[in-house]
């Protein structure tokens, strides 16, 4: 990256804030100014651009210190409102993660909700267990606490504030419930996350001003960036941040527990970062618009790892925010999961703090890394795949076989599923023992009249977990295994899976 002439230093900006004559614009106002007067003028006039985002940030949580009871306890297990707290720390320190689920309320309540309740000043039930030691003899605690009773409650979020995030859709024929919300069948909708043109890391795209030690708006209080976030992936423009702040200063307006239906719980976190306009390049990224920031729409119907979910289309935040996206020849509704309204509010609150002289900028002690590899997890042990479990000897029928003949085959072989093969050797249907019983009861005679034509299938290389879930979702007990040409290679049933897995792990 070329060195740019510094137009103003952080120290100079802070002097202006102290004097009350700093020029502070929200990112939306900066965009307007750059459009009306050009980027050079905007860079010359503006000292600070404020940003904001308010979205679900799963890698969030809070370090807690409960203080010592008398007699004292070395807590080995601990729960707040039945949500487990990580206790692999000192006696009365713990970490409550946003995605931890309540052991009694499941998806309804979890770590994110406890954090919101703590911030709201509500009473929280504390339960803890221990094995008891000479120095910590107590073995059990049941009491009630509020945030005021805690010595420290420090929000430390390992990954917040994604620069951008890929949007989601669903190609399959059923509704799926994901961390990207409810996705309707057959590309029925698109969901996306991130504040785009207000998003902090989008506004200092090259991380020239944001780094370790940057003071920020966090959850309604003051926080700091403590480094790159986990999965920080700057080369592709998917940077992340690790942040910390004192939970006791924060507000439930900007920290909200959330449940994603049939997925899990999380925490909505409000983050706002001031961007000092130190040079013209920073000014131009601070003026980036929604129509200049693009992401991929990925197919969440394919249960692969994130980077392998097929890309359906590339779109800008401007297109997504319009509420309609064209996929193929279809116009489908799109909507956000993060709140643009709240993101805007956060950028305005931060602006107000700076103008009132109660928030000063900091110079980072180290910049965020601009290069990082984001690697997938390699599975080095051999795992069971469909090919290891399926039966290769498949009893099949053809569409013109009689119902009675087919029933005899099932009885003779002791099986429940009969794939039906067409004259070209391809799978055309499936018949189960239940289909046959019903056919006989209704006086039907030919398989082609009774077979299921839309057959749910499996592939040889698929994982057992994926295939077992598919069977459960369709409420069926067996799948023909097919190749690309739809030839049947084998059959896999719930019986085969349970037999293979009894007494062993999923690895072999």
């Amino acid at each position: 990256m070329k060195v740019q002439r510094e137009m103003r230093s952080i120290e100079e900006i802070n002097e202006k804030i102290k004097r009350g004559d700093a020029v502070v614009l929200t990112a939306e106002e900066m965009i307007e100014l750059a459009e009306s007067s050009g980027i050079e003028v905007a860079a010359k006039e503006v000292d600070v651009v404020t940003t904001g985002t308010f979205g679900a940030m799963c890698s969030s949580g809070v370090f807690l210190n409960f203080g010592h009871s008398d007699p004292p306890i070395k807590m080995t297990k601990c729960w707040l409102n039945d949500v487990p707290v990580y206790k692999g720390l000192a006696a009365v320190d713990g970490y409550l993660g946003a995605t931890a689920l309540s052991e009694t309320r499941g998806f309804e309540y979890g770590g994110g909700h406890v954090i919101e309740d703590l911030v709201s000043g509500k009473e929280i039930e504390l339960r803890a267990e221990s094995y008891g030691t000479d120095c910590y003899p107590r073995r059990h605690i049941e009491t009630v606490i509020t945030i005021d009773d805690l010595n420290q409650a420090i929000l430390v979020n390992p990954r917040n504030c994604y620069q951008r995030y890929d949007a989601a859709t669903n190609s399959t024929d059923r509704v799926i419930y994901t961390y990207m919300g409810t996705l309707l069948p057959n590309y029925g909708n698109v969901t996306f996350s991130g504040a785009g043109q207000l998003n902090p890391l989008c506004k200092d795209w090259n991380y020239e001003t944001i780094g370790i030690g940057t003071r920020i708006f966090l959850g309604g209080g003051i926080g700091y960036i403590i480094g790159e976030g986990t999965q920080h992936s700057p080369q592709g423009g998917f940077g992340t941040l690790m942040v910390r702040g004192d939970l006791k200063q924060m507000s439930s307006r900007y920290l909200r527990g959330a449940s994603f239906y049939r997925y899990g719980v999380t925490l909505y976190v409000g983050v706002g970062i001031p961007i000092p306009i130190i040079n013209e390049r920073v000014a131009s990224t601070a003026a980036l618009r929604d129509d200049q920031i693009s992401v991929n729409i990925r197919d969440y119907g394919i249960p692969s790892r994130p980077d392998r979910r097929p890309i359906v289309k590339r779109v800008t935040y401007a297109e997504l925010r319009k509420g309609k996206v064209t996929i193929g020849d279809k116009e489908v509704p799109s909507s956000s999961l993060s709140s643009y309204k709240m993101a805007r509010e956060i950028s305005e609150v931060l602006k107000k703090w700076i103008l009132e002289g109660i928030f000063f900028l900091t110079k980072p002690v180290e910049p965020l890394p601009r290069k990082r590899e984001f690697k997938p997890l390699q599975i080095r042990r051999k795992e069971l795949r469909v090919r290891d479990v399926m039966r290769k000897e498949v009893i099949t029928a053809n569409p013109y076989d009689g119902v009675k003949e087919a029933a005899r085959k099932l009885v003779a072989r002791g099986i429940d599923h009969l794939p039906v093969i067409g004259p070209d050797g391809k799978l055309v249907g499936i018949v189960t023992s239940w289909d046959l019983a019903r056919a006989i009861a209704n006086g039907k005679e030919m398989l082609s009249d009774i077979m299921t034509r839309r057959v749910i299938t499996a592939r040889e290389e698929e994982s057992i977990d994926v295939v077992a879930r598919r069977m459960a979702q369709h409420n069926i007990s067996g799948l023909p295994v097919v190749d690309d040409a739809h030839h049947v290679l084998g059959i896999i049933t719930t019986d085969d899976i349970s037999r293979k897995l009894v007494g062993r792990r999923l690895t072999i």
Binding site: G257, S334, S336
Partner: protein, 129 residues
């Protein structure tokens, strides 16, 4: 307009709804049905308003069916709602949308009470009474 139709034992076996659909030609949609030999309760959506709607409701009453109007389909608790938008694109009838300041807005007329949004809301701000 969503209404609840309550059938007493002496009308439960009569095809009141079917007759009114045939007579008016309106595609009245059944959203919920609890019917047995003794009594029946249907929640239906009638795509009509004003005088025409009142005429249809009178037809039900004259056939011996009790009619209760729903005054509001959904309740959005704006204290809890964060205007994130998670409910908007899953809504099958586009009854939810953003206003000009990105606040969530609800169009009662379009709602068919399918509850998709109730589940999709991450902060449990939407209820269907």
């Amino acid at each position: 307009m969503r209404v609840r139709l309550i059938y007493s034992p002496h009308v439960v076996e009569k095809p009141v709804l079917a007759e009114i659909i045939l007579k008016t030609g309106l595609p009245i949609n059944i959203l919920e049905a609890k019917v047995n030999a003794q009594k029946g309760e249907l929640v239906v959506s009638i795509p009509s308003s004003g005088k025409k709607l009142e005429e249809i409701l009178t037809m039900f009453r004259e056939a011996g069916v009790q009619v209760q109007k729903f005054m509001r389909a959904l309740q959005i608790d704006y204290e809890r709602c964060i205007s994130c938008g998670a409910c908007i694109s899953p809504c099958p009838t586009q009854a939810l949308r953003f206003g000009s300041d990105w606040t969530l807005e609800f169009d009662e007329e379009k709602c068919i009470a399918c509850k998709t949004c109730v589940n999709a809301c991450p902060v449990k701000a939407i209820t269907l009474p």
